[in-house]
């Protein structure tokens, strides 16, 4: 192979790395080796070969194709790499339509000071804390909001677990033949004690569908914050989607150390943060595109929404039914439930309610604590549900 080609390959790798693909020099040398088997004269074979070595996700294929076209079309120059940088930007921040909205409700947003409040400021004496626990999120002042955020971040609960199909030595019902036989050797092959194994457990995967339309914004922020605290340390099993008029996956944006920063990033990723609501459409998008990928292994689905839906109730009912069929449990969190006078009369919520396992308030700290307890103690294998026949026919 000519040194010039290798040089170009390494430069191409650099471009790909700039786009976030895994194309370090070692991998590019792998491509060079592959080219010994594929004629480089055939551009399309060269393309296929390079792609199968450098791309590992279907989502990245289009990005690679465009980079490949741009790079190998003409001799390398500064000009091409400029184009590609634009491509990279596109990938990282998909159309940041709005600036991230600051938390609403109070002009003295806690971040505005530019400094973290000293820890002592958020430690509340018992009684104000108790008041705070029951105050509706919608009525919090800036300071109280800060305090609530701090309390949420400090929550320490575990997610409910499910039994996996893996076992470990223990006191279950499964015989451990291997250890039994081993031990029997010391007694000349006589089995004295039957060793046993038990099933291992894992946290249930959690899928969150969060309404980020105008009316829900503040609640959603706090609940996501709460789930963030809950999920810390078991990140692979939590998926978060935001919806308003469209569904957007924000799991990746939420990955990171700092939840506040992550929320801001998520807001940038969602085109309609604080827009209108089409719950049915959004659930359908989730069911069709994501459910098969994230709802395996007995996932718990949490929908956070007030149920004000501008779409068709039939669609919402049908998609809720489908969602419930593929989830271990569907929990709907509604901040309006906090009001004693609230009745679920809105068309959306009435359509959805038959397919919800738990319908819970989520308007103050106390309700979040209840939710945490519930998530911790979710029952294991459940009896089959019987959905209303309307579900199938709708």
């Amino acid at each position: 192979m000519s040194g010039r080609l290798l040089g170009n390959l390494l430069r191409f790798g650099k471009v790909l790395r700039g786009l976030g693909l895994d194309a370090g020099p070692a991998r590019m040398i792998g491509v060079a080796q592959a080219l010994e088997h594929v004629s480089i004269g055939n551009k399309s074979d060269f393309h296929d070969a390079a792609r199968s070595l450098l791309v590992r996700r279907r989502e990245d294929m289009a990005l690679f194709d465009r980079a490949f076209e741009a790079f190998w079309r003409k001799p390398v120059s500064g000009e091409t790499s400029l184009d590609l940088r634009a491509l990279g930007e596109q990938r990282r921040w998909r159309s940041p339509a709005f600036a991230p909205p600051a938390p609403q409700g109070d002009s003295r947003a806690p971040e505005a000071g530019g400094q973290d409040p000293p820890a002592s400021a958020v430690v509340l004496t018992y009684s104000p804390a108790e008041v705070l626990r029951h105050k509706d999120f919608g009525q919090l002042t800036g300071e109280e909001l800060t305090a609530v955020r701090a309390s949420i971040a400090g929550l320490a609960w575990r997610l409910a677990v499910r039994r996996t199909r893996r076992t470990r030595p223990g006191h279950g019902r499964l015989p451990d033949l291997r250890r039994t036989l081993r031990h029997s050797l010391s007694s000349g092959g006589e089995v004295v004690i039957w060793e046993r194994r038990e099933r291992k457990t894992r946290p249930r995967p959690l899928v969150v569908l969060a309404d980020v339309s105008g009316s829900m914004e503040r609640y959603t922020r706090l609940v996501v914050l709460f789930l963030y605290a809950l999920a810390e340390g078991l990140d692979p099993s939590v998926e978060v989607f935001a919806f308003g008029t469209r569904l957007t996956r924000i799991t990746k944006e939420l990955a990171g150390r700092d939840p506040e920063e992550a929320l801001a990033r998520a807001a940038r990723a969602v085109p309609d943060w604080s827009g209108g609501t089409r719950i049915g459409e959004s659930l359908k998008a989730f069911n069709y595109r994501w459910a098969r990928r994230v709802l395996s292994r007995g996932a718990v689905v949490i929908v956070i929404s007030d149920g004000w839906d501008r779409g068709e109730p039939e669609l919402l009912a049908r998609e809720m039914a489908r969602l419930q069929r593929s989830a271990h449990r569907v929990i709907w969190l509604n901040p309006l439930l906090g009001s004693p006078r609230y009745e679920p009369l809105a068309r959306g919520i009435r359509a959805a309610l038959p397919f919800v396992d738990d319908f819970l308030p989520v308007h103050n700290l106390s309700s979040l604590e209840d939710l945490a307890r519930r998530l911790e103690a979710l029952p294991g294998p459940r009896a089959p549900r019987r959905q209303a026949p309307a579900a199938a026919g709708a």
Binding site: R51, L53, R58, S184
Partner: protein, 309 residues
Amino acid sequence: MPASESSYTFPVPKTPIDSIDSLQTALRKRKYLAQRGLATSVFLALKLQRPLFLEGEAGVGKTEVAKVLADILQTELIRMQCYEGLDVHHAVYEWNYARQILHIRLAEARGDRPDEAELFGPEFLLRRPLLQAIEGRREKPPVLLVDEIDRSDEEFEAYLLEILSDFQITIPEIGTVRAERPPVVVITSNRTREVHDALKRRCLYHWIDYPSFDDELAIVREKVPGASARLAREVAGFVSELRRADLFKVPGVAETLDWAAALVALDRQALDPQIVSETLGALLKYQDDVEKIRGDAARTLLDRMKVGA
């Protein structure tokens, strides 16, 4: 092709796979119509001796690649179907406890004490797919198919990664088994979850898409020879329209072939709305998808297809 070769086949492939073209031809000869991109990935997997990671929707022919490949290479296919909780005892090896206990009893009857080294020797070892794939003394390395890896769990992925890194397995009682020549590894995934990046890094990746109309037509003609030219064309056309419809689960190639076979069995020469509605179950596997297409929608799709053709 020399006529003498049929009588005595020493393990030399009949047609050496020395280019993408020859591989594509060999695949075609076995009725597997591969797009050029797929053939390239398979070819490189063979040449670079790297595992091939095939991803795609259900029913696009991922598993078939491994089967056909084993046939082309005239070697054994070792298949491992993945499932949640798949562990070392089912993937790699297990001791044959029943035989061990019998052995102990026999030793006792002779008045001996069982010898532990003997008891945990190769004789009492049950070889599971991964061990089979790297252990055997074959003239040619086998094809190892790790099917539907997305059904397994992280623990198994980590284990597989370890084996794919150096093709050796350590059995504490016996020692380390190393592959003289690494197997050809094909891993498939339906993407019901993301497989860990570390595993994919070791592999050549290829996404198998639904075939184009022309390719699918060729596949139907090849695999369902009983279908008339017209029926094959209409089946392929209808399915490709169907894939554009708003469905929960669109049909794969496997479903197309089932459907074509069903229509042949019903002695059909062409499609009409009624027969489509009656046989839709071969294509669509969700009740509300069937509801959606049955009747008027089927008629519309048929019309659109005829206009498009």
